[in-house]
Amino acid sequence: MSVSAITGLALLVLIAAAFYAGRARAVAVSGDKPVRLHSLPNYHGYFLAAWTAIPALAVVVIATIVERQLGMSAWTSAALTAVLSVLAGLAGLSLARRRINTGFRARNHVERLIDVVLLASSVIAILTTVGIVASLLFESLRFFEAIDWRIDRFLFGLHWSPQIAIRADQVGQSGAFGAVPLFAGTAMITLIAMIVAAPVGLFSAIYLSEYAGPTTRRIVKPLLEILAGIPTVVYGFFALLTIGPAIRGAAEWVGDLTGIVALQNAVTQSALSAGLVMGVMIIPFVSSLSDDVINAVPQSLRDGSYAMGATKSETVREVILPAALPGIVGALLLAVSRAVGETMIVVMAAGQGANLTGNPFESVTTITVQIVMLLTGDQEFDSPKTLSAFALGLVLFAFTLVLNVIALRVVQKYREKYD
């Protein structure tokens, strides 16, 4: 067992001991009449355990940082940390133990401690996010520096070819970082996916909430939600091995009949097959959220519409959908940001060629696919090639952020109107 593991165990034992010591001490000072205490004995126990744990853990953290700076050997460092932390724990324990008496408000101290722990948890979540964004930002800045601050060429350039020559005499490896083909590919696949998912998802939500009987609903809804549980890699090889070849075959057949060259040149890894399969994947997002929203439309509106002599579909079109619109827009935008960020399906099914094309039968590439390509395999992490992945990540992050903000705004605006 390593020294740090033994330290950890020792600290745990110490903290547990502190709890029992605090409880016993409280009972003792009350003269075996715990009723006389301000706080229950357990609270005194928690109080003591906390004041043992906090100094000990603080010492562990500080010692680890300082010792690394001083360049001590691993074993000495660990041993020193162990001794210091146990001492700090004992010191905290004995200081806190003196405060225990009948009037001591251990309960309130514990309450404040809980407050601090909860706050710390949420701060950790926020700090992590801030850290990720900061790292994206700084690495992106390094990338922009490497391309001489020609951010316009990155955002609006039409040619993407991130390979850079290692030797000056290599040809054809100039390194071009125009990201427009990636944006266009992402947009096309997202569009195809939404063309599939928006109507199918919305219509099945309407069927489930308005037309289906309770039994059908009980069976169909979980079945639909299974779609969301299929791993994306499974969708990916489904697209690659089944849908892709089928689309290619069909396109070639139609192309030969009609003589349209774009169809004759269809490839297996195409934007269409990736988009279609991704559309199927996000159907449950749209249908499940929309179904919840439609169910939340008050029954009184339906009754009102039926009482006017409206049929079911008129009621859905004229009353229920307008009332549920903000939620449905939210569901669709969520599906879009899911589609934009989806990686596995496109890596497998859309190909890697950074083609700037409007033809869905050609292979395209997306932001996420390129990030994977740039960062997998043997890479040096200060070349513009790998750094460009961070810039792409930043763009992706900014886009989904904007999308979420818009979704929130839309929801709020309509909610004011209709509630």
Partner: protein, 262 residues
Amino acid sequence: MSTVYHDTKIENAKVELDNVGVTYGSKTAVSGVALRIPDRSVTAFIGPSGCGKSTVLRTINRMNDTIDIARVSGSVKIDGEEINSKSVDPVVLRARVGMVFQKPNPFPKSIYDNVAYGPRIHGLASGKAELDAIVETSLKKAGLWNEVADRLDQPGTSLSGGQQQRLVIARAIAVSPEVILMDEPCSALDPIATAKIEELIDELRENYCIIIVTHSMAQAARVSQMTAFFHLGDLVEYGPTEAIFTNPRDQRTQDYITGRFG
């Protein structure tokens, strides 16, 4: 259980119910209801909660069809025509029998579109001008025109509760129904808004057959000409409002209107 009928001649019966019963699944909500409701008058359904008065009301425009487990038996006739027969399309029937609910339920549309809703789905107006006219007359009849004439494009939900309820009444009137059903139309409103709606009901009586379910006996006494008292799924007593309130013949009616229960 047999119903006590005060002997009044109802010559112009608009709605006739005979041996009407409604069950929800295995639970019987009402049974054996027989009523002849006169045209161009207000008939009040009163009784304690859960007595089946709203259920009976909903048989008159077949709203019970929208509840899967509800089964209606017996005969309901409007102008002598059986509305539960297969040849009657409930969607068309509901254009003839309007309904106003307990809670104002304007649609998530503008004031104009709320009133134009019925005429549009039933194709009652042949052009924009005609539709405008229908909307204006309906709002005027509902006593709302002066308050909303300059903001017809605003959402119906932006109105106050009382205004919303009058908007809903205008929406019901817009398809020129013959019968208007009101299910506790004032229970969500304050006294001033209630007074306005009651005034409106009194005016509408000249042209429509109005049936109103109410928990307020004072309201029944104020607005109605005929009153039906329901108790535990039975129609107990039916007759002119004045006779029911001054000279109830069934002990349960008397107990209810004197406030001994309910």
